[in-house]
Amino acid sequence: MHIIVTDRDGNDHTLEALEGWRVMEIIRDYGLPIKAECGGACACGTCHVYVAPEWVGRLYPASEDEIYMLDSAFEVEKNSRLSCQILFTPELDGLRVTLAPGSES
């Protein structure tokens, strides 16, 4: 299973994904630059990603906490999510996300 992550320079990376990991953790573990300052506590907004349009509807909707936390992220769009709040499950095999501005470590 894998996810595809586009970095801030526009390069695609295919990352092996483990069930039960958060997408932020998969990205961080692979070594792509992602600040994720609060370590996944939905308390910083620095793990902001854009989800590819075809995947937006297939994710669990964002919680109220996540929507609030996105207020402290930048250039938030309709497909914005906090990657620490997306739990990877087999249904998400092939998920595509792009690192957003302000998530740089």
């Binding site: 620095t46 929507i67 930048f74």
Partner: protein, 346 residues
């Protein structure tokens, strides 16, 4: 500049580890001053996750970030440490030789403290406002773009645009509105995570035409030589792009941690962390210690409990530096009437 204050130990950072260091140093009769850029003690626990539970503090099966901070404050109360909050420790300088050797710590407000020992408990670095990644924003900073309000006067008769949807954004919208030439608030959605009372007041002003509310995202800044003329934005619910005329932008997107001045203290660093030994948690410079999230040694784990342990060992060596002539006695708080007296329980 005010008079130099004197103490035994200056602790830079009032996070959980800096707070517990007061306790360990206090048991050895060492007096402390703490400096923190935040306006409250507790570091990450109080700023990033006050309401969230921590499960791995020994003997506290569950405690929130704020509760842990409150309990530490209670635990160190007998030692009467002095807190200097809202100040950044900017410089450390050595003074004197041999037995007279000591340190002077200077803050961004010009305050100076003299001590034999410095303990850096700076955690993930000092908390500073997040800066929006808008192209060319640096040129405008401190001229037209600000991330905090230090003096309200500065914003008198300005055409102000405030960005953000939390308490800081709403509070400053309401506080600065009476003195501004014009006031507008911009937020990405029409919902605010701020005190409902402030939100209602803001909506009242908008309804009366006393200020503008834009539900939009900032695209760019327009102006020359740092003088802002307008801000280009894109509406959240349409693709409409337009300019908001203003000469001042105040952006409130929360805080982030930056290593800051500690990097310039001249200590050996390991990937932006301060390298220490694991016996005394001393840095490459004698008399300067680093404990908690800011330090690095092989096997380091960024856990609160590790920081507590580091504080206890650091205190032993700090004692030897402050009182080279005195003998250090190992005692338990349970059985030592001497320690109990210091704690005010005997």
């Amino acid at each position: 500049m005010s008079e130099i204050q004197e103490t035994d130990v200056v602790i830079i950072g009032a996070g959980p580890v800096g707070l517990f260091a007061v306790f360990e140093l206090g048991l050895l009769d060492l007096k402390c001053h703490l400096i923190d850029i935040l306006d409250k003690p507790g570091g990450q626990c109080a700023e990033l996750y006050p309401e969230k539970p921590i499960y791995d503090i020994p003997a506290l099966p569950i405690v929130t970030g704020q509760e842990l901070t409150d309990r530490l404050m209670e635990q160190i109360k007998p030692f009467g440490a002095t807190f200097h909050l809202g100040q950044m420790a900017e410089k450390i300088a050595k003074q004197g030789e041999g037995a007279d050797e000591c340190w002077i710590v200077t803050t961004d407000m010009g305050m100076q403290i003299k001590a034999k020992v410095i303990v850096i408990a700076a955690g993930g670095g000092s908390f500073v406002p997040k800066k929006p990644p808008i192209k060319g924003i640096e040129e405008f900073e401190d001229i037209s773009v600000f991330y905090a309000v230090r003096k309200m006067d500065r914003f008198k008769d300005k055409k102000i645009l405030i960005a953000g949807g939390g308490d800081s954004a709403l509070d400053w919208t309401l506080n600065l509105h009476p003195l501004a030439a014009s006031m507008a608030l911009i937020h990405r959605r029409d919902d605010f995570r701020a005190a409902p009372d402030s939100v209602n007041k803001m909506r009242g002003l908008v309804a009366n035409g006393a200020m503008d509310l834009h539900i939009a995202n900032i695209l760019g800044l327009n102006g020359e030589n740092g003088v802002l003329e307008s801000v280009s934005v894109k509406a959240s619910d349409s693709d409409a792009v337009y300019d908001i005329p203003c000469d001042t932008l105040l952006a409130f997107y929360g805080l982030t941690m930056k290593l800051g001045p500690v990097a310039e203290f001249g200590l050996n660093l390991h990937e932006n962390l301060i390298a220490v030994d694991t016996e005394k948690f001393e840095t490459s410079t004698k008399g300067v210690f680093a404990i908690g999230d800011i330090n690095w040694y092989p096997g380091k784990l960024k856990l609160i409990l590790s920081g507590f342990h580091e504080a206890a060992l650091m205190a032993q060596e700090a004692f030897r530096i402050v009182h080279p002539d005195k003998k250090l006695r190992f005692q338990y708080t349970t059985s030592s009437s001497d320690l109990q007296k210091k704690l005010g329980v005997a």
